[in-house]
Amino acid sequence: MTDSRKGHDDVPVLRGGEVPVFPYLVLKEFLAALVISILLLIWSLAQNAPLLPEANPGKTENPAKAPWYFVGLQELLVYFDPWIAGVGIPTLIIAGLMAIPYLDTSRGATGQYTFHARRAAIGHFVLGFVLWWVLIAIGQFLRGPNWQFYWPWQDWSVAKSADEQLWSFPWWVGLPLLVAYFAGGLALARRRWPWLPAGLGRGRYRLVIVLTLLMYAVPIKIVLRLLLGVKYVLVTPWFNI
């Protein structure tokens, strides 16, 4: 794409204010790879792989932690039932991520690496991504014996009480709340960003909003539990959320 400007040393300008992928983007990415490689090399030279305690079938380690990349999921087990935390949420994440190219078919800002043009899409994605890392960090560094919360300066050998006073919304509160959350979210988004349903079409719009609301439901549930001691928002004979 730069052939027509061969022989010029100054930065070639393509359409309004753009620069070519090579070398500007490729070089940036190459430098990022270089920095990461240098850090990894220094780390591997300075530090041996840790030797963990010998496996002992007679002794379960406490806390038993998943590999770091799964600790975020394990952390979710505090707030959700295993079936939801372990199957439901990961499935939604994977399916949702896979669906993005089919949901967001806008041609705007193609070829541009810019935040301004896609503030909402990138913003929501980054928030979800940060949430994932925050969960990993909490699970990896701030969880002690019996998966109790310990600050880094607290002594793990001092046991913490596992007693927690938790309560659940009765179904006649929980169900309307959930319905209101999704219906309200759909309506609010339509009013706030009227161009959104227009651009996406009704079906895709609803799917996008529902997936986004589902993502935000996770931190909302966490906050409810931490601040108000809410165990379940909706209790049904088949599943609890």
Binding site: D9, P23, Y24, F30, L34, I38, L41, P53, E54, S157
Partner: protein
């Protein structure tokens, strides 16, 4: 060609060389391992030393040896760097220690600096490194090839290198017995101390079972003590203040706890009160004399400046302020009626003698009065009972109501395999190793206490040496994990030796008898050395097993000139046998029992023995009969044991040895002259070997007391002739 912005180019110019350099460093550090440097150093050292040997061989003009060293130098110079490994398939041990410790089995490196020095002692001769590897004994991480890794000084490596000081702990991994095991003295001492210090009272250890309670029973205290309240309170509060030598540990109890325990102990039923004893007419000065003469001082100390034979034996200074006359009289008369497990033997005394001793002991009162005890009525005895349960006083003392209470002291049974991470170091800065943990624990048992856990182990008085031995022993506590090919079960001799060691310590044999190089404790208070009971040094080689066994069960006077008699310990048959076999094993006698068949005694040797016996005038010193009493006008110091006893008492091998080398066997102070050889071993007579053998034969078959007069000899000859009947001339 576009080259990006200047900033990008600058970053690329800086980061690329750094990345390249790091790659080179990473590859280099993988390629040159620390062991390679050690192998190069070793190679230089080896060639140097071999060259020195070569020069020495050439100087001696020993061509063969010079050629051999030449070959060694050539081989060593050509050897490429390589990891050396011993692999033991059956225990899955891969030891690469010899990768750096290359001189381990090479005598050239006895004084070389580490890691090249050869293994100390003769251990490698018995433990072929190719069969046992290194980490089986030394621990550490055999497969690692760095200094820190190989020595196991890595987080979570459960068995770091045992310091040389404690490495004997590993002997117990294969050897079922440490008694009679060369090179395991520290471990053996620890095993003995574990019993002698009473650790077994609270800590259950496999192999130590059915031992009596370590301390005296606490049940009938009120009939034993004159002022039970003050005495028990003061004792519980600080035993060492009352008796500085005592083994009773200091529990660091506060006034309330001591008061509660005292209140509980005094509520226990007093049991049957001892009979009243009237001391009028009993002379304390007689008692004082008897106390020494009958050997009581062999075990007990009387004045504050001396010590009892072992800290377990009560120091009698202040005894007059402690116990009642009635109790003391009953105790001396028969200690086992009060405490069936006591080590105190029953000494044969007439009631008068006993009363004199009691009168004397009651004069030994405390210089310093007992500290006052608080009013006990404000304490609930049940609280005291709870405290006894908590501190597990019943581990060492029999206490009524606790007969079936189980100990809950931590099990030491598998201490060797306990990960160091499971040990609580509290807030101390003790280095995180098991041995450092144990050292501090034994020195200051409650050092690791924190708000999380209250520790109850009392303070013990142990010397640094004793702690060291105990640490070695505790580090050896393990379940057997090695295949049967590695295990060396205890031999019967070793088991007997172990039991004998315990009994000798428990019963304080060293109080009266010389033992293991220790003078009898009694020797401090008795001047005439021949009044001291015989040495037990090498007794297993000297005495016949049957004789020792009988004697232990039912002591009979052998040396009539001695005032003191072997007291009655009340051994069971099993205990007597263990002592006999243990004493035998201690002197390398595998079967101490002796039988000399009378039919097997060759007559000509026997007769020659009789003549030689007379020739050397043995009877001059050795009385021939104890039934007739001591000969008149003879200093008992010049007397020796009745030789008529020899055939049932002494082992013939020992008699021969003793006749040949009396000074070496019985010590230079013996009155037995060196008849057959000089002290240097030169023969003094014509046929020493035959003389000794024949005299021994005679002694083992001696029937009548040997006569010294020629007349008797002629009578015997005549009688023998008369017996020769010409059967052809007799009608029958």
């Amino acid at each position: 060609m576009m080259r990006g912005t200047p900033l990008m180019r600058l970053a690329l110019a800086i980061l690329s060389p750094i990345f390249l350099l790091l790659c080179v460093v990473a590859i280099h550090s993988e390629e040159t391992r620390p062991w390679m440097r050690y192998q190069e150093e070793f190679k230089t050292l080896y060639i140097d030393r071999a060259a020195a040997q070569l020069r020495a061989a050439e100087a001696r003009q020993n061509a063969a040896e010079a050629a051999r060293w030449q070959r060694v130098i050539a081989e060593v110079s050509a050897a490429p760097p390589a990891i050396a490994q011993t692999y033991l398939e059956d225990v899955k041990i891969a030891d690469r220690c010899v990768t750096c410790h290359q001189g381990i089995d090479n005598p050239l490196f006895q004084d070389a600096p580490q890691p090249f020095r050869s293994h100390s002692g003769p251990l490698l001769q018995q433990h072929d490194p190719s069969r046992f590897g290194c980490t089986l004994c030394h621990q550490g991480q055999g497969a690692a090839t760095t200094v820190e890794g190989g020595h196991g000084r890595e987080a979570n490596w459960s068995s770091p290198l045992l310091p040389a000081a404690y490495v004997q702990a590993s002997c117990a991994r294969c050897h079922g017995a440490v008694h009679g095991l060369r090179g395991a003295d520290g471990l053996r001492r620890g095993a003995d101390l574990f019993m002698e210090k009473g650790c077994y009272g609270c800590h259950d250890v496999k192999g130590i079972t059915y031992l009596p309670k370590f301390g005296p029973p606490l049940t009938p205290l009120r009939s034993k003590l004159t002022d039970a309240r003050s005495w028990v309170y003061a004792w519980i509060k600080d035993p060492q203040r009352i008796s500085p030598d005592t083994l009773m540990p200091h529990f660091e109890l506060d006034d309330d706890a001591a008061g509660k325990i005292t209140a509980f102990l005094l509520t226990l039923p007093p049991g049957k009160a001892p009979d009243r004893v009237a001391l009028d007419g009993a002379a304390p000065e007689d008692g004082k004399r008897l106390f020494t003469e009958r050997g009581c001082r062999g075990c007990h100390a009387l004045t504050p400046d001396e010590h009892s034979v072992s800290p377990r034996v009560p120091h009698l200074a202040g005894i007059g302020s402690k116990v009642t006359a009635d109790w003391l009289d009953q105790w001396i008369a028969n200690p086992k009626t009060y405490n069936p497990d006591t080590a105190m033997p029953k000494v044969e005394l007439t009631p008068d003698e006993r009363r004199a001793i009691v009168a004397y002991l009651l004069t030994l009162t405390r210089a310093e009065p007992l500290p006052p005890a608080p009013d006990l009525s404000r304490f609930n005895p049940q609280d005291g009972k709870q405290l006894i349960r908590r501190y597990e006083c019943f581990g060492c003392h029999a206490i009524e109501g606790f007969e079936r209470t189980r100990l809950s002291v931590p099990d030491l049974g598998e201490f060797a395999r306990k990960p160091v991470a499971e040990l609580d170091f509290g807030r101390t800065g003790v280095p995180r190793t098991k041995w450092d943990w144990l050292e501090r624990k034994l020195r200051e048992p409650r050092a690791y206490e924190s708000e999380k856990i209250q520790l109850l182990m009392p303070t013990l008085s142990l010397t640094a040496d004793e702690r060291h031995a105990l640490i070695t022993y505790v580090l050896a506590f393990d379940v057997p994990t090695l295949p049967v090919r590695y295990t060396v079960p205890a031999t019967p001799a070793q088991r007997a030796l172990r039991e004998q060691t315990w009994m000798v310590a428990h019963l304080n044999c060293n109080g009266c008898h010389r033992l293991d190089g220790h003078e009898p404790h009694l020797a401090r208070s008795i001047e005439r050395k021949n009044l001291i009971p015989p040495s037990l040094e090498g007794v297993g080689a000297r005495l016949q097993g049957q004789y020792m066994y009988q004697f232990l069960l039912e002591p009979k006077a052998v040396r009539p000139w001695l005032q003191m008699r072997m007291p009655v310990f009340g051994f069971t048959e099993a205990q007597a046998r263990a002592l006999v076999e243990g004493f035998g094993a201690a002197t390398g006698v595998s079967n101490p029992y002796t039988y000399v068949a009378k039919e097997a005694i060759a007559q000509e040797h026997f007769q020659r023995g009789v003549r030689r016996f007379r020739h050397y005038k043995c009877v001059q010193c050795h009385p021939t009969s104890i039934d007739q009493g001591l000969p008149e006008g003879v200093d008992p110091e010049d007397l020796s044991i009745n030789l008529m006893l020899a055939k049932t008492r002494l082992r013939p091998e020992w008699i021969k040895d003793f006749l040949a080398r009396p000074k070496q066997i019985a010590g230079p102070q013996t009155r037995m002259p060196a008849v057959f050889y000089t002290v240097e071993g030169t023969p003094k007579v014509e046929r020493p070997v035959d003389d000794i053998a024949d005299i021994t034969t005679y002694m083992m078959g001696m029937v009548d007391p040997p006569e010294v007069t020629l007349q008797a000899e002629e009578d015997a000859k005549k009688a023998a002739q008369e017996q020769q009947v010409d059967w052809s001339a007799v009608e029958y």
